[in-house]
């Protein structure tokens, strides 16, 4: 029992100024879901791998005269496997339960949350909304990761409920590995930038694309309070929530702006550092090259662009691992996930005008207060895509 990993209690999650206030049973629900996700990843998921090797793959080979040769063939034979079906069904249910748990917590106090957000946002020029920004098809086609209302739906003008729901449940999927404010990615970025700063790379202006609730950029703003940061997203509710959240945490150097990253109105070379964090996989094959071209145009000479994602599939990744990592594409409303992870991102960045010789991959894991929260870097459970340990695709100009 001593050795068993137990995620921190939801009580440890940080309470900023617009965070929904969870009662006993709401915290218990998140505690249960965090532990259930941990169980599925560590105890059930290995059985899925065994089911593939021991019966699904041999069965396929028997019928077809060869082992599965594509991800699609792995998928076809696994979808008929009872153990995989049970794991998949329960995993999908955990996503849906997490959404209902978050929404019930948020919506019962939505007027209070909206009032708090409004008070923090009122007459603040760091929040720049623009009604003319249209929600692109790749955001509206389905509700991304089964999040009703996605990032952009407002229940009334000024509503922030989708932002509050997204924020309050980030804890669940990673079992607390994203840290107190679910900002372990941002903390890792801030640490990286501190090292860069020491080495002489000192960006004056930073752009965060697809910022949602701002959890990945606020730690950077806190570490560099004199740096000017612009964070863009297409969703007004998440931006309202992000600005209020950041402000309540004492951050005043981020401008949250409603804009589509395929075409931004900043001048060429406006930024020294451009970041996307778990964003590119939520775009589309048409939008992604446009966004990369914009980063090339907006980046100043000597600047760096960082794209933080789960690893690309690539030919050297085993088919079974590709198939498992592709689960979210079909089962968690992430329709561009598979296509995006099949791409050679460096080739895409080269097509956008970046120099192939100035590209590199960086490993990054969420940085958390390890006295309370589990460190992704020390976790050896293979969960095929949920763990906050990323590949960063870096290009210098």
């Amino acid at each position: 029992m001593e050795d068993r990993q137990v995620p921190p209690a939801y009580d440890e999650v940080g309470q900023h100024g617009v965070f929904p206030q969870a009662n006993h049973d709401e915290r218990a629900r998140f505690n249960f879901l965090a532990n259930l996700n941990g169980y599925l990843a560590s105890q059930v998921l290995p059985g899925v791998a065994t089911a593939y090797e021991a019966r699904a793959k041999p069965r396929f080979a028997e019928h077809h005269g060869h082992e599965p040769q594509t991800r699609k063939e792995v998928r076809a034979c696994m979808e008929a496997d009872g153990y995989y079906q049970s794991w998949s069904s329960i995993r999908r249910n955990t996503m849906e339960m997490r959404q209902q748990a978050g929404r019930s917590l948020v919506l019962r106090q939505i007027n209070d949350i909206n009032e708090r957000a409004h008070a923090l946002n009122k007459n603040d020029s760091n929040l720049q909304l623009d009604d003319s920004v249209k929600v692109p098809h790749y955001v509206s086609a389905v509700d991304i990761h089964c999040m009703p209302g996605c990032y952009y739906t407002e229940l009334a003008p000024g509503d922030v409920s989708v932002g509050a729901n997204y924020d309050c449940g980030l804890f669940v999927t990673t079992g607390g590995m994203l840290g107190r404010y679910s900002d372990g990615g941002g903390q890792a970025l801030a640490n990286w930038l501190k090292e860069q700063y020491e080495a002489g790379f000192r960006p004056r202006r930073v752009l965060d694309i697809g910022c949602t609730v701002g959890h990945n950029i606020v730690p950077v703003a806190q570490a560099f309070p004199d740096t000017e940061i612009v964070a863009v997203d297409i969703g007004a509710p998440v931006l309202r929530y992000a600005h209020a959240r950041a402000k309540s945490l004492g951050v005043n150097n981020i401008t949250f702006r409603q804009a589509n990253a395929e075409a931004l109105d900043y001048e060429d070379g406006s930024f020294d550092l451009i970041i996307t964090c778990m964003f590119l996989h939520e775009t589309s094959a048409k939008a992604l090259p446009k966004i990369l071209a914009e980063t090339q145009r907006l980046l100043a000479d000597g600047g760096k662009v960082l794209h933080i994602e789960q690893p690309q599939y690539g030919e050297d990744m085993p088919l079974f691992e590709q198939f498992m990592r592709d689960w979210d594409t079909f089962n968690n409303n992430e329709p561009f996930w598979g296509a995006m992870h099949d791409m050679d991102l460096f080739e895409q960045m080269a097509d956008a005008g970046f120099d192939r010789d100035k590209m590199s991959i960086l490993g990054l894991a969420a940085v958390v207060d390890e006295s309370i929260f589990p460190a992704a870097a020390n976790d050896d459970t293979e969960d095929y895509g949920r763990k906050p340990a990323w590949h960063v695709y870096v290009a210098c100009k």
């Binding site: 629900r29 049970s86 329960i90 019930s104 509206s140 009703p148 229940l155 089962n331």
Partner: protein, 129 residues
């Protein structure tokens, strides 16, 4: 920006359970299994919540001196109490297993006097007599 936030008047219970846009995948061969798994996992979740709440109650009671939690684990019922609790289990099991118990009744009835008539047939008979 206006001076006050817009006040929402929503049914938070109904809104919380809204479906996400996008077709839900089917994992099992029968859609009934899909439904049952969904309901079962929600019940599992709520039981976990209840257990955590009970644990909180016990700890609070203990902290206030009203309860020694070790006394719960070392509690042994008297014969009468044990019987009451046995009946409690039996009543609970009967509720949970009702569907199997009634299916058995139907099998036995069918053996005795033939299968139940479909309700459509009973309805038609009563409408015509």
């Amino acid at each position: 920006m206006t001076d006050a936030a817009v006040t929402l008047d929503i049914d938070a219970i109904a809104e919380a359970g809204r479906k996400a846009k996008g077709k839900r995948p089917q994992f099992f061969e029968m859609e009934e299994s899909e439904r049952l798994m969904g309901i079962l996992m929600a019940v599992v979740e709520e039981l976990a919540v209840t257990r955590e709440r009970l644990d909180t109650v016990e700890r609070l009671l203990e902290a206030s001196g009203g309860l020694n939690r070790e006394a719960i684990d070392s509690f042994h019922p008297s014969a009468e109490q044990a019987r009451e609790r046995g009946l409690m289990h039996q009543e609970y099991i009967a509720r949970v297993m009702r569907v199997l118990q009634q299916e058995r009744e139907a099998l036995e009835e069918a053996q005795r006097r033939g299968p139940d008539k479909p309700l459509e047939q009973v309805s038609e008979e009563l409408g015509n007599s």
